[in-house]
């Protein structure tokens, strides 16, 4: 469903991503890990259309989409969340979720002005779905509050819900657990399981290895913009190069650490 083929990007002569290739199948969950500065977020930005790669191709469902803008990719079923989403102060929680729902008629100015009945029907359907999703992540009672008034962890869940209401085929998560409290983290794991059950592929950039073990079947390890290992999450601590990339050259501190980097 997603093929990342020899993708690379430089920023002002500095290599951010050297050459990365990997693929993701429907309903599969892949983790992208690596120390800070290893190119994880840049890679996510390239796949989601927020950065243009200097080399390589992105193929989505058999169709090359390299360099397409984020909104085009969103229309093709790619959704993403941000590491530190900033929510608007002058829109409610519910409105942010609705902004993610597909409402083709009322998204066009003419349709919204003229086709009143269709617009209203679209909105009613979207509100119902939004309420269900907000309920699922425990934000329903805050639906009419300004989105910016939520806590950092709640804003991340709101970002996830807004991304999910469009029924993506591919979901890209940028450090979904950072700043999220343990109870919300549990909700997050549950929601991701449901999403996968519906056939959505997930790519997660993450530092929290316990979380990666919980939600990912496969891990791609980056260091210095290149892939240094591909393995199951349980094998991460066995790979000499991975341990070195994270902890430097010294005896591995066997697998018990949950937060690294």
């Amino acid at each position: 469903m997603l093929e990342v083929e020899s993708v690379g990007k430089d920023y002002a002569g500095v290599v951010a991503v050297a050459e990365v290739s990997f693929g993701v199948e429907p309903a599969e969950s892949v983790g992208v890990v690596g120390p800070n500065g290893s190119g994880k977020t840049t890679l996510l930005n390239i796949i989601s259309g927020f950065a243009r790669p200097d080399r390589g191709r992105i193929v989505l469902g058999g169709r090359e989409v390299t360099g397409r803008p984020a909104w085009t990719l969103s229309g093709l079923g790619v959704a993403r969340t941000f590491q530190l989403p900033q929510m608007p102060a002058r829109m409610s929680v519910l409105e942010v979720v609705l902004a993610g729902a597909r409402q083709p008629v009322s998204a066009s100015p003419l349709g919204g002005l003229v086709r009143l009945r269709r617009s209203r029907a679209e909105l009613a359907g979207a509100v119902e779905r939004a309420d269900g999703l907000l309920e699922r992540v425990g934000l329903r009672r805050l639906r009419d509050d300004p989105a910016a008034s939520l806590s950092g962890g709640q804003q991340k869940l709101l970002n996830l819900v807004a991304a999910l209401i469009g029924d993506p085929r591919l979901l890209l998560l940028d450090e979904p657990t950072a700043g999220v409290s343990p109870p919300l983290r549990k909700v997050l794991v549950g929601v991701l399981e449901e999403v996968r059950a519906k056939g959505t592929a997930i790519v997660t950039v993450e530092h929290d290895m316990a979380f990666v073990s919980e939600v990912c079947e496969r891990v791609v390890v980056l260091d210095g913009g290149s892939v240094i290992a591909r393995c199951a999450p349980s094998e991460l601590h066995l790979d000499e190069q991975v341990v070195e990339a994270y902890l430097g050259k010294r005896r591995a501190d066997r697998g018990t650490r949950s937060e690294v980097g």
Partner: protein, 296 residues
């Protein structure tokens, strides 16, 4: 006196239409257009040029809307490469450049003289009836623009505009074409301001560059800020208040025994104070934008 009040209300509704348009850009979409007068001027010159070519006013209106659309396409494209404030500076520069060209180009645009003899609407009727009819027409146009504005803000298109105003990346990630929605709202609001410009030129029977000065842009901005940026009804209230301040400052000038020149400067000063005062003390205006509650 009654005619004077009618005149004030006609002018207030003309500028209220421009203010509703500016609010769709600056308030709803976060596009700080410091050259909104460009669209107004396109309308005024559309009326002037149609008069000069002995064409009906509808041709002037149609031409003005087409040119305004072209300008909106250009500014929309520009919003993709220039972030926020830089875009605002570019709009200011473009509007000024156009004004200077119009001011210096004699053969087509009439240069500093402008274009006189733009047909007065309802010219054959007695003055009071004429003013009342002008006011009714203008209120109808304002009502249509206000309804379009109010309706659009609440649609998915409006949500895309309001989300990209504060969080463009989030909006793009949720599938909203940033350049597309900005260009669309610039076309809609630009057409409103251009229509107001057409009507204005007919109302004062003249097209010239004096209304295309920066001062007009600042006056319309003041209407938006005082009324409540982001709130369509607020900016109409702001337009009424600021136009009243503008028109009645004449009496203040008379009371203070000021010359016409000084009275004109006094007006601009008063508007400047109003803008500054509100920015400092109540920058969300008299009727602030509120969160939209969604029923169902």
């Amino acid at each position: 006196m009654f005619n004077y009040i009618l005149d004030l209300l006609v002018l207030a509704s003309i500028f209220a239409v421009v203010a509703v348009g500016l609010n769709l850009q600056a308030g709803v979409s976060g596009l700080p257009n410091f050259g909104i007068v460009l669209f107004f001027g396109i309308g005024a010159y559309g009326a002037g040029l149609a008069t000069k070519a002995s064409l009906p006013w509808t041709v002037g209106l149609l031409g003005a809307v087409l040119v305004a659309t072209a300008a909106a396409l250009l500014l929309g494209r520009l919003s993709g490469s220039l972030p926020g404030t830089y875009w605002g500076i570019a709009t200011l520069a473009i509007a000024e450049a156009v004004r200077v060209i119009l001011f210096n180009q004699d053969s087509v645009f009439g240069g500093a003289q402008g274009i006189g003899g733009v047909s007065l609407p309802f010219a054959s009727l007695p003055e009071r009836t004429r003013l009342i009819l002008c006011l009714l027409v203008m209120i109808a146009i304002l009502a249509v623009c206000l309804a379009i504005s109010q309706r659009l803000i609440g649609t998915q298109f409006g949500r895309a505009l309001r989300l990209q105003r504060e969080q463009p990346e989030l909006a793009a990630s949720l599938g909203h074409d940033l350049i597309g929605v900005r260009t669309a709202i610039l076309i809609i609001s630009g057409a409103m301001a251009a229509a107001a410009g057409v009507f204005y030129a007919h109302y004062i029977a003249y097209t010239g560059t004096s209304e295309l000065e920066m001062a007009t842009t600042i006056t319309v901005w003041t209407m938006v800020v005082v009324g409540g940026i982001g709130n369509s009804y607020g900016v109409v209230l702001g337009a009424l208040l600021i136009q009243t301040l503008y028109s009645t400052s004449r009496f203040l000038g008379e009371a203070l025994n000021l010359s016409a020149d000084r009275t004109a400067s006094l007006r601009i000063m008063l508007i400047g104070f109003a803008l500054f005062g509100f920015l400092m003390l109540k920058n969300d205006g008299l009727l602030p934008e509120r969160l939209r509650k969604i029923r169902a």
